[in-house]
Subunit: 596 residues, 2 copies
Amino acid sequence: MHTSIATVSLSGPLTEKLTAASRAGFDGVEIFENDLLASPLSPEEVRARCADLGLAVDLYQPMRDIEAVPDEVFARNLRRARHKFELMRRLGADTVLVCSSVSPDALDDDALAAEQLSRLADLAAEFGIRVAYEALAWGRHISTYDHAWRVVEAAGHPALGTCLDSFHILSRGSDPKGIEDIPGEKIFFLQLADAPLLAMDVLQWSRHYRCFPGQGGFDLPGLLTHVLRTGYSGPLSLEVFNDVFRQADAGPTAVDAHRSLLLLQEAVGVAELPAPVVPTGVAFAELLTPDAEPVTALLGALGFTRAARHRGKPVDLWQRGTARVLVNTGPAARRAGTRLTAIGLESPDPAGAARRAEDLLAPVLPRRRAPEDVPLDAVAAPDGTELFFCATGHPGLPDWRADFEDLAEAADPVCRIDHLALAQPWHHFDEATLFHRSVLGLHAQESVDLADPYGLLRSRAVTNADGSVRIALAVGAAPGDDTVHAAHIALAVDDVVAAARAFRAAGGRLLPVPANYHDDLAARYEFADGELETYRDLGILYDREAGGAFRHCYTETVGRVFFELVQRDPGYQGYGAVNAPVRLAAQHAVRGFTGG
Amino acid sequence: MHTSIATVSLSGPLTEKLTAASRAGFDGVEIFENDLLASPLSPEEVRARCADLGLAVDLYQPMRDIEAVPDEVFARNLRRARHKFELMRRLGADTVLVCSSVSPDALDDDALAAEQLSRLADLAAEFGIRVAYEALAWGRHISTYDHAWRVVEAAGHPALGTCLDSFHILSRGSDPKGIEDIPGEKIFFLQLADAPLLAMDVLQWSRHYRCFPGQGGFDLPGLLTHVLRTGYSGPLSLEVFNDVFRQADAGPTAVDAHRSLLLLQEAVGVAELPAPVVPTGVAFAELLTPDAEPVTALLGALGFTRAARHRGKPVDLWQRGTARVLVNTGPAARRAGTRLTAIGLESPDPAGAARRAEDLLAPVLPRRRAPEDVPLDAVAAPDGTELFFCATGHPGLPDWRADFEDLAEAADPVCRIDHLALAQPWHHFDEATLFHRSVLGLHAQESVDLADPYGLLRSRAVTNADGSVRIALAVGAAPGDDTVHAAHIALAVDDVVAAARAFRAAGGRLLPVPANYHDDLAARYEFADGELETYRDLGILYDREAGGAFRHCYTETVGRVFFELVQRDPGYQGYGAVNAPVRLAAQHAVRGFTGG
């Protein structure tokens, strides 16, 4: 379907918005009036810019407080409308959005509203323009889509139709099934926005918290299904007001926006995309570092051995059990110190996984870095992390380890990567979740707030069905916090006490945890003799839920990465979020553990 | 009264919070449990630190999900409570907060709740501890203060009382008059928080949007009056959860917090402060600049003449009508380029104004900068702007101009400072408003959102009764935006067209406004022949409200300052906020006009 986005959904001056929409693959735009007013370009120039960019001007919006008013007011409104229609002709826009009136002057008189909208449509028709009438959720007398449609139907004018906006419909709890009673050709436009389910004033909710389809809590596939059953064949357009998007770079926002429309079309069966290939495990995590020594000292103390070396690049493979960490001292490392830059995901169909990612607008990375390398399918996640779709010892698929020369027989105590925690750029938390869900086919767990001494963090994990892939996405409370929090690699062990002791015996430093924390554990739980003392000694944190217990401790931080040792009971599904404030405060307190 | 603040209201580790509370003049603190758990200090060490800082440990909080549960659960809860009471003994805290249960295990049984709270109080009494029971607004069965009090009354235990929290009472719309039915000695604690009036889920509202008294919309003086009528003589304590305060520096936040409690006590008549001395005009605005040339060129084009020079410092007085601008090229200027650093406010009692400011914790600036200077009463506003309380030609008061040597007879076309617009640091918008309202006795107008191309700004003006002092406080949407927006000086003229033409003729550059804006004005209003073309030519913006019209235009920006020319009809009370998105976009578009 033809896709469109309202300029108000993106940040920057009008031309920046148009460029971003075009680059992201949109077919058209809704021009938001204030964006035009603030632009130094004439309407003709905007039209030409859109044409150059391959964008249709699908809608001009909004026209407000038009209908159901006394005659003399309506005469003034028509005068104003004539100006706008002249402007739209210059702009090349053939549809105008009219929002139901919020004016105290408006009368509760549907017949008058229909008659005046009909007269407005008469005038519009002279300019070859169609009027799309929409019920605002907070409209004074007309606030539901079915009411707006009854008025449009009563007017019976060929240049007058309705505009449906998912926010206005779903925020009021209206049943979208009634949409099917509207003839598709009378639905002139469809605006889509999702939103988190908040109990708040609907006007504030609308103005500040809308988000792209799939990022919120609305059933947009359900709504779109009803719309399509009417025969509607107009644009799918995004109209999203959001305080964060207003500040975010328009380019990535437009890509996220377009991805969300592709997914919506897939969900209702009007677009076909390669099916998700859910990863079946974590093949490796890759650290880029300018100085391998601190990282490899840490890995050594954690029981990793250097198992292999890349044939052509300064990359070593460190391994303990099935936990594999690549240490890359390539030239890009100097920029930002030690970072987690790539994740290898076990995939039963690496090429298929990459195809889906590419079709969903993820940047594809070169398949080979050097001619002699095994071809690897890889894309960049929204936060820049490289995701490799690969196979480890899978018959019929090339093994990514073929590029490596064995150095040592790996000692194999039981150990695997339990989860990876990635710090997300401030603006792109919901986008990151949607990406991991939709592109990788992972399931998103509940979002949680974590109190850091200097602000709230939000964290949300995505997992596959058996929990063999778990990625925790975390974001700071404000821009600038991006750099405060390091990524980490959590290693699952059978016995965290033994693992922590071995780490310490090998010279590793564990994050010290305040005694008050363990005193509190004593108040909350009963432990076997000596158990709590052991935890206290090693800095092991503890959580319990119905499914079982979770014991975990943290290493020092190197650059922007640290490790966690976890012992997870099979039924425990969390990540010890209850302990996060203590861990974060401890990391702030001990300078050597914060990285920065 | 004894003042206190919950550690959760301030950011940073526990010791940073304690230091900030002490410096701001609080008498005590509520220790929030998670702050203690995350602290490397033992309870004894925290106690000693508080004693060093002169802080009482007024409360330990919270204890949750204690009451109205089956016997075996209550036995576990008592065990947990014993741990906490031991901890409190080490901490030197003699009152514990118990919140009404939110547990699904809790039974709707007031008698059982009373009996178990009584048993808890028995145990507490062994430790010399008092239990303050509070109704959470979202408590499972007990969610109103009167209900919590009935349970406490039924228990009839001397170590059990109630805790009142203004948020939980006022957010539910409970009538606080019923507080007077509680004997004061049974109110063990009083927690105060204000909040903006938001229609949203009360738990989210509580956790993220609380603010200090006077910064929100609650009638806290009314509530406190009811509490005091009971004979309550315990602490006034602030318990505020707020996403912004979590990130803000604890020091200034604690000062703002304490100021709000002083004002609250003044409002209910239990503390006496020097009365506000409302300023009666703007004596001057002072610009600090490393290079006087661009600023004075701009002032010259605006019709200012250099009227006088300071006897001892590199400060010139520029004047047009009663608008006076000091241009200071002193040594501090090099740091940050041209900035608006000080405001002179006409005061009928400069010393009294400064006394009130000082009693309300505003830093007082040295009265004389040099021995020969006229003594000036001055304080720093929260954003660092220096506020001078002074008199211009007022019989019986020293004239601040006595330090200046006349250079020229000022030509006197009618001109005065209409308003000053100041960019506020991101974290301190509500505090700035409260400061200007309470310290200066100005009236705060409604807060408005302004759309900048890269984010939403919030703006709120404070004024005196006749509008001769107007200060518009604006804040960006996020940290870092502090530096995006310049301060400005708006000059009121009788004829903005003539003033703009004269400015241009003198070589001044006016901010160009997009033609689309004026096309839109044509659709919205009817103008006399040629009027709109004049506005278009000069970049004059237009607004109209019931009280009259407002015409305004902007100069180029020098450093971090620009000027506005305004022609204000007497009945117009605004600042052309409707035009702000166009102005902001134009300033972004024309590099020379943005300053940065």
